[in-house]
Symmetry: C2
Subunit: 500 residues, 2 copies
Amino acid sequence: MAKDKKVAGPEARLPKGFRDIRAAELSATRAMLDTIRRVYETYGFEELETPAIEYTDALGKFLPDQDRPNEGVFSFTDDDEQWLSLRYDLTAPLARFVAENYQSLPKPFRRYATGTVYRNEKPGPGRFRQFTQFDADTVGTESLAADAEICMLAADTLEALGIARGDYVIKVNNRKLLDGLLESVGVNLSDHVARLAVLRSLDKLDKFSREDVALLLGPGRKDESGDFTKGAGLGEKQIAVLLDFVMQPKLSRSERDAIVRTAGFEPVDAFGDGLAELDQIGELVEKAGYGADRIRIDFSVVRGLEYYTGPVFEAELTFEVKDEQGNKVRFGSVGGGGRYDGLVERFLGQKVPATGFSIGVSRLQAALGVLKGSAAADVAPQGPVVVLIMDKGELPRYQKMAQMLRSAGIRAEMYLGTSGMKAQMKYADRRGAPCVVIQGSDERAKGEVQIKDLIEGAKAAAAIADNKEWKESRPAQVSVKEEDLVATVREIIARHGGAD
Amino acid sequence: MAKDKKVAGPEARLPKGFRDIRAAELSATRAMLDTIRRVYETYGFEELETPAIEYTDALGKFLPDQDRPNEGVFSFTDDDEQWLSLRYDLTAPLARFVAENYQSLPKPFRRYATGTVYRNEKPGPGRFRQFTQFDADTVGTESLAADAEICMLAADTLEALGIARGDYVIKVNNRKLLDGLLESVGVNLSDHVARLAVLRSLDKLDKFSREDVALLLGPGRKDESGDFTKGAGLGEKQIAVLLDFVMQPKLSRSERDAIVRTAGFEPVDAFGDGLAELDQIGELVEKAGYGADRIRIDFSVVRGLEYYTGPVFEAELTFEVKDEQGNKVRFGSVGGGGRYDGLVERFLGQKVPATGFSIGVSRLQAALGVLKGSAAADVAPQGPVVVLIMDKGELPRYQKMAQMLRSAGIRAEMYLGTSGMKAQMKYADRRGAPCVVIQGSDERAKGEVQIKDLIEGAKAAAAIADNKEWKESRPAQVSVKEEDLVATVREIIARHGGAD
């Protein structure tokens, strides 16, 4: 242990980009995940858990042309010198799982998964290096009905979480359209790095201004902290066409061709496939009763991942919140996905088309917090009843009282510290105890206990300045027989609307 | 991506010591964790989640006298060249959290946590490098009532999970007794490495024979695979005393002294404190109604962790199972813990006593599987209803049927593959579908659907050899009007005891 190593101990601190999560938030997260799980299971998805660690090559996270893992992932070597990495998302491990178990799986294979993913990236406000995703994927089908279903699933999930119709929209685009556009302006699609740089830059339009995205597409951009992001190196005309195109959600075929031609380029025909696929998805969701208020085609959806090969989705919350500068902005994306026909093929050499959707859990939870009022989201649940220690020789007696309350399903604890009455009351307050149980020698002699209602007591203390009598007429402290302890405590908890 | 790098794709495989977990097991785990959570909350513990990654020095996992992390943990360096590690347990991160937030926490601080921990150790059968723990700890009190409560919590948790009284026991010992014994036979307690080697060897008595443990305490031991474990280097007499001592759960003070003296050593007085503490815990649990059938003092409990400073606990399941050789053995330990008064002090320099208990989740789940019959534990939950695709032009119609079923709370999916009828039926079977919905052009013309009960159908198929008529008299397939689809499916699911 370190104490052998040095005299001063280590500093107690978390690495940058990581955080501790307390009980109130965890309880809200659990309720949210349970709702998502219920909807996903109704759609017939079955749960799968893969480990947090995979071989780096299985994640496809080696740097191009190098034998070192990508800097964006946390990596280390095994005993036998093979590179391992913490998973970056839940999709790459799914592809590994499907390839490894291909023969024995029902096909299509429909799985959902929730778990923590890790990004070795620069942290920022609200941007962590460990966070939770909730994914659903259908592997092994080319059918666009699978993509349509993913959109319906996303819409149903948001509504099940209490997000009203009109406050969200599931947007659908097609990567084939974007690739057609890139090809039209002369981007070499077989240069994966160049293509990805362009797509990632365009995907930033929901966060950055047109001017900033133009810098990312062109010479590069320096952010507020002075860090420089290398640009995609496109020319001014190329940039203008791309931005004119993706900033408009709706364009007819001829309008699109016109934008491309006006800038002196020639539109390629790859647009065609993408449009036909979008029409088919549109028809499927409409006939299943999902109107354009819930799921709609939107040419501005890009998504930053390279591996999408067809339809791409984005779940966007449309209600407004204030940003850091106090401006009203749409809440924005809480999830997205798309079709990725190449991921399993990497392993098997055989075509295994797939499509899926991923929710950013803490982002969605933040949205629910906004909708419910941020105050409500942070309220800690009611704490346990605390049995105070008035006489250290009587610990077994106090322990037994706590045990009686627990046996009745009431959260309760005996004070376990060694401090006096005042510190014990302060402890009970901090824990959010609805009441405390007190038994000194006088009460013990009579077989009684005092029960002090802390919530009522706090109200009385607040009111006491202008109404002294109020306290006397409604005392927050009662004496009851030991055998009435459980019933009295239960009554107090019920009075304050707490669950046992 | 790797496809740029090489022609052949990567192999789809998990690193050694990791595993994928399927839906049936995950669902059983979730039910178990919910029960544990409920009991822990009744005791007033509040949940805390810390991240999987910590600074290596915060985990106390540097190798003695070296600037490299211990080989037992997965470690990597940050951008700024500091060592990070995946957490090895949930206790070290708790100590870091308490030290970092000491001023603002209620004291004592009582938290529970469940999460994944990582061990960079040699995997083996049932021994994984990633697994889940469920911990409860009380930090900031010297009171032995906190230790007593941990034992009661452990007993209540096992009973809440359905383990009958008599099938488990919570054993309590005290590290001070063991240290007294070690000191009596001449082990230098200030040599932490030597002390830990002795304790870890003694802790193996539940898995290894006396002879094998004697080798570990002495010259070292070669296991079946030929790997050599270095021994603690004790002499024969020392080993004999230690083993005589800890292999007997009950010894009076004079019997203990006699064992030590007979071998020519002189017992030190440190025994005294430990015995008094055990008496006090014994009194507290007994008065709270926990007899020796549930919680009992047992001098054979060691625990392999160095940091314990006082009481140590072990939750043992006492029913018998067959081991790999077919011999009947006790199921054994499913959790343990103890008092660790030094962990927070490492950071703060100030004494912050603490005690806690940790459940090995998959080990406990395996035990519950044994109790419920291993067959029951592996039964997959009923799958979704599958709507078959008889006519690819009618996808929206089939999609809508699936949607109607889901709206009624029934798990349902439209077949999303592109294969024919036979493959679709096979798919429905693999998914464990209770029934399939079929609508060809004939049924569509009449506004009807066929519903085939797969469970009844399977029974009929099994019976058909000796009773052909049975199938005709109880057909597993019915035709109903489209508007009766939901009601009919619900009836079939109810008939087979499935939940919606």
